[in-house]
C-alpha cells in the first residue's frame, strides 16, 4: 500500500454522496471534505500492521448455515406494516417513478 495519506477532495465527497444517495449541499461538501480527510488520515495507520497472510474476521461468532425449521408462520398484518409507510395506494407501498417514464 502506498504511504500517501488520503486527500479527500470536494469532488470525491460529491461522488461518495451520490453513491450513498445523499443530496449534499454545497457548504456541506467543504465541511465533509475536511472532516473525512482527518478521519481517513487517522485510520490509514491500519496499513502499518503486517497482516499479509492473516485470515480476515467478518464476524465474532463462527456460525454457518443457520436455518430455521421449514414451518409456515403468519407474517405481520398488512395494515400494520402499511401504517408506517410514507405513501400507500391500493394496499401497496406507493413508490415515486423508477424508470423515468411518463405517467
Amino acid at each position: 500500500m502506498s504511504e500517501d495519506a488520503p486527500t479527500v477532495t470536494r469532488e470525491e465527497v460529491a461522488h461518495l454522496a451520490r453513491l450513498a444517495r445523499l443530496a449534499v449541499t454545497d457548504s456541506d461538501l467543504d465541511l465533509f471534505a475536511g472532516q473525512l480527510d482527518v478521519i481517513l488520515r487517522s485510520i490509514a495507520r491500519i496499513s502499518e500492521v503486517a497482516a499479509g497472510d492473516i485470515e480476515p474476521t467478518s464476524h465474532a461468532v463462527p456460525l454457518q448455515n443457520v436455518l430455521r425449521p421449514d414451518q409456515v408462520a403468519p407474517c405481520l398484518p398488512r395494515e400494520a406494516v402499511l401504517a408506517g409507510a410514507p405513501a400507500v395506494e391500493d394496499d401497496r407501498f406507493r413508490v415515486p417513478q423508477i424508470l423515468g417514464e411518463e405517467e
Binding site: A17, S42, A51, T57, L63, V66, L76
Partner: protein, 507 residues
C-alpha cells in the same frame, strides 16, 4: 424504608412479592420522578404512562391471583430507542424515523414483557447509536445527573442518565464500540456488554451488525445480572444468536459478592494504561486504586501486552462505518419513515437522496460516506479488508492474554464525563472515548463497567469506571469480579451514588 424510587431492582421486586408495595405504586413513583426531573435531564424521548400502569396492574393482578412472580416482576425499566416496541414510537434517535410506530416487538422487548418488567418509555441516544455523548440525537441533549452541563456518555446516554438519575432502577442499552460501558462509567452505574450472540439482535435497528449487542444497565452489579439473565438466550429469529445457553451470571454475582478472589488471575493490559498519554490522571489514579482493591481481595495481578489493541480504533472506524453504510441503505423513503420531495415528477432516486439528506444528521452522513469510501473498489483491500485482518489479530491477542489470566482489566474510558459541546467539533476527539472499549467489541467478548471512584480533575467529582473483560461466553467472570469489587468498594466508601447531587425536588 427509603423512597420507592431509591430501591434497587432486587429490593423493588422483593417489596412487590411480599406486598410491601404494589407494582402500580412503584410505577407511579417512577413516572412522578420522571415528571419532576426529566425536563432537566432529558433522558426520555417517549414516556408510556398508560402502558406502564397497565403492565404494573397486570403484575398486581397476577400476584393477587396467587401466581408466582419472576425475579424482576413489577420492576420499572427504561428502553433505549434503538429497540423496536410494538405500538410505541421508535426513532433510533433519528428524524428519518420520526413518528414511526413499529408493528412488532424486538425479542428482548418480548422477554422484558414476559418477565413482568414494567417498561416506562424509550430513552434518548446518539442517532443510530453513532456517538459517545448522546449529542448526536436528532431530538435533544441528555444531561449527566452528576453535572447537568456534562454529557451522560453515549450512545446509550438516555439509558445511563435514567438509571443514574433514579428515574428507573434498570435500563437497556446497546453496545457497538462501547455504548453501554462508557455511559455506565461516566454516570457511576454498572453496564455490561454481553458476549456477541448471547442476547438476540432481532428487532434492534442495525448500525453495525457484526458488533451490535444489547445489554443491561443497573445501579448495582446484582440488578445488572438479574436483567442480563432475562435478556440472554438463544433466539431462532437471529441467525447470529449462540445456540448454547450462557453462564448463570446471578450465581456468579452472589459468589463474587462474598469478596474472595483468591486463585483468580487478573491482567492489566499494557496498551490500555495510557502509557503514551491521552488518559486523564484522575482516571488512572482511580484505576490504580482499583487494582490494589482486587489484590486485597486475593486476586493475583499480572500484566499482559496486546500489541494490536493499538489498532482497534482504526479497525473499528473502518468496519463500523462500512457495515452502517450498508445497513442504513434500508432508509429509502419507501417502506417506513420520512419521505421528502415526492412531487410526482421527481424519480425515486431523487426522492431517496433528498429524504436521506434531511433525515440523517451529520455524524450519520459522515459514517455512511466513510463506509462507502472504505468499501469502494480500489480501497477495499487497503481499508476494509485490512481492518478485518486486524480484527483477527486483536482476537488472537485476547486468546493469548486469556492463556495467562482469567480476566483483563482497564479503565472503561480515558476520560470522565465531558462538557456538552466540548468534543463535537472534531470527530476524532469524540472517537477516542472508545479507546478502551473497542477491543472487546471487535473480538465479540464480554466486558462490564463497574464504578471505581470519583475524580475531580475535570472540575466537580465525577465517576470513573473499571472495565473487566472475559473470554467469549464467560460473562460470569465479569460479574463475579465486578461484584467482588463493588462489595469491597462500598464497604470502604459507601455507594458511589450517595455523592450524586440532588435533582429537582429530591434525590
Amino acid at each position: 424504608m427509603a423512597s420507592l424510587h431509591e430501591l434497587s431492582a432486587a429490593q423493588t421486586a422483593e417489596a412487590i412479592r411480599t406486598g410491601e408495595a404494589s407494582a402500580t405504586e412503584v410505577a407511579r413513583v417512577h413516572l412522578d420522578r420522571i415528571g419532576q426531573i426529566d425536563g432537566e435531564l432529558k433522558a426520555f424521548l417517549h414516556v408510556d404512562t398508560d402502558g406502564a400502569l397497565a403492565a404494573a396492574a397486570a403484575v398486581d393482578a397476577r400476584r393477587s391471583a396467587g401466581e408466582e412472580l419472576g425475579p424482576l416482576a413489577g420492576v420499572p425499566l427504561a428502553m433505549k430507542d434503538v429497540v423496536v416496541t410494538e405500538g410505541l414510537p421508535t426513532t433510533s434517535g433519528s428524524k428519518i424515523l420520526q413518528g414511526w410506530i413499529p408493528p412488532y416487538d424486538a425479542t428482548i422487548t418480548r422477554r422484558v414483557k414476559q418477565a413482568g418488567i414494567v417498561m416506562l418509555g424509550k430513552t434518548n441516544m446518539d442517532e443510530f447509536a453513532m456517538g459517545s455523548s448522546t449529542e448526536n440525537s436528532a431530538y435533544q441533549v441528555t444531561r449527566n445527573p452528576w453535572d447537568l452541563s456534562r454529557v451522560p456518555g453515549g450512545s446509550s446516554g438516555g439509558s445511563s442518565a435514567a438509571v443514574a438519575g433514579y428515574e428507573a432502577p434498570l435500563s437497556i442499552g446497546t453496545d457497538t464500540g462501547g455504548s453501554i460501558r462508557q455511559p455506565a462509567a461516566v454516570t457511576g452505574i454498572v453496564g455490561h456488554k454481553p458476549t456477541y450472540g448471547a442476547v438476540s439482535r432481532y428487532g434492534l435497528i442495525a448500525f453495525s451488525s457484526s458488533l451490535d449487542q444489547a445489554g443491561p444497565f443497573g445501579r448495582t452489579v446484582l440488578d445488572t445480572a438479574l436483567l442480563h439473565q432475562v435478556l440472554a438466550g438463544h433466539d431462532p429469529a437471529d441467525s447470529t444468536s449462540i445456540p448454547e445457553s450462557g453462564p448463570d451470571v446471578v450465581a456468579a454475582t452472589v459468589e463474587g459478592a462474598r469478596g474472595d478472589l483468591s486463585g483468580l488471575k487478573v491482567a492489566i493490559v499494557t496498551e490500555l494504561t495510557g502509557a503514551s498519554g491521552g488518559y486523564q490522571e484522575g482516571v488512572l489514579a482511580r484505576f490504580r486504586d482499583a487494582v490494589a482493591v482486587l489484590q486485597k481481595l486475593g486476586a493475583e495481578i499480572v500484566e499482559v501486552s496486546c500489541p494490536h489493541f493499538d489498532y482497534a480504533l482504526a479497525a473499528y472506524y473502518l468496519i463500523a462505518p462500512s457495515e452502517c453504510s450498508s445497513n442504513l441503505a434500508r432508509f429509502d423513503a419507501v417502506r417506513y419513515g420520512l419521505r421528502v420531495g415526492d412531487d410526482g415528477r421527481r424519480s425515486l432516486e431523487e426522492v431517496m437522496s433528498l429524504t436521506r439528506e434531511q433525515g440523517f444528521g451529520p455524524e450519520v452522513k459522515r459514517r455512511i460516506m466513510i463506509g462507502t469510501y472504505a468499501l469502494s473498489s480500489g480501497y477495499y483491500d487497503a481499508y476494509y479488508g485490512q481492518a478485518q485482518k486486524v480484527r483477527t489479530l486483536i482476537a488472537d491477542d485476547f486468546r493469548k492474554a486469556f492463556g495467562q489470566a482469567d480476566v483483563l482489566i482497564s479503565p472503561t474510558s480515558p476520560f470522565v464525563a465531558f462538557e456538552i459541546g466540548e468534543r463535537t467539533a472534531d470527530p476524532m476527539a469524540m472517537y477516542v472515548n472508545d479507546l478502551c472499549t473497542l477491543p472487546a467489541s471487535l473480538a465479540g467478548t464480554p466486558a462490564i463497567s463497574v464504578p471505581c471512584g470519583l475524580s475531580d480533575e475535570a472540575g466537580p467529582p465525577l465517576p470513573v469506571g473499571l472495565q473487566v473483560m472475559a473470554p467469549a461466553m464467560a460473562d460470569d467472570r465479569c460479574y463475579r469480579v465486578a461484584a467482588a469489587f463493588e462489595a469491597a468498594y462500598q464497604a470502604a466508601n459507601g455507594p458511589i451514588l450517595q455523592h450524586l447531587p440532588s435533582l429537582g425536588a429530591s434525590r
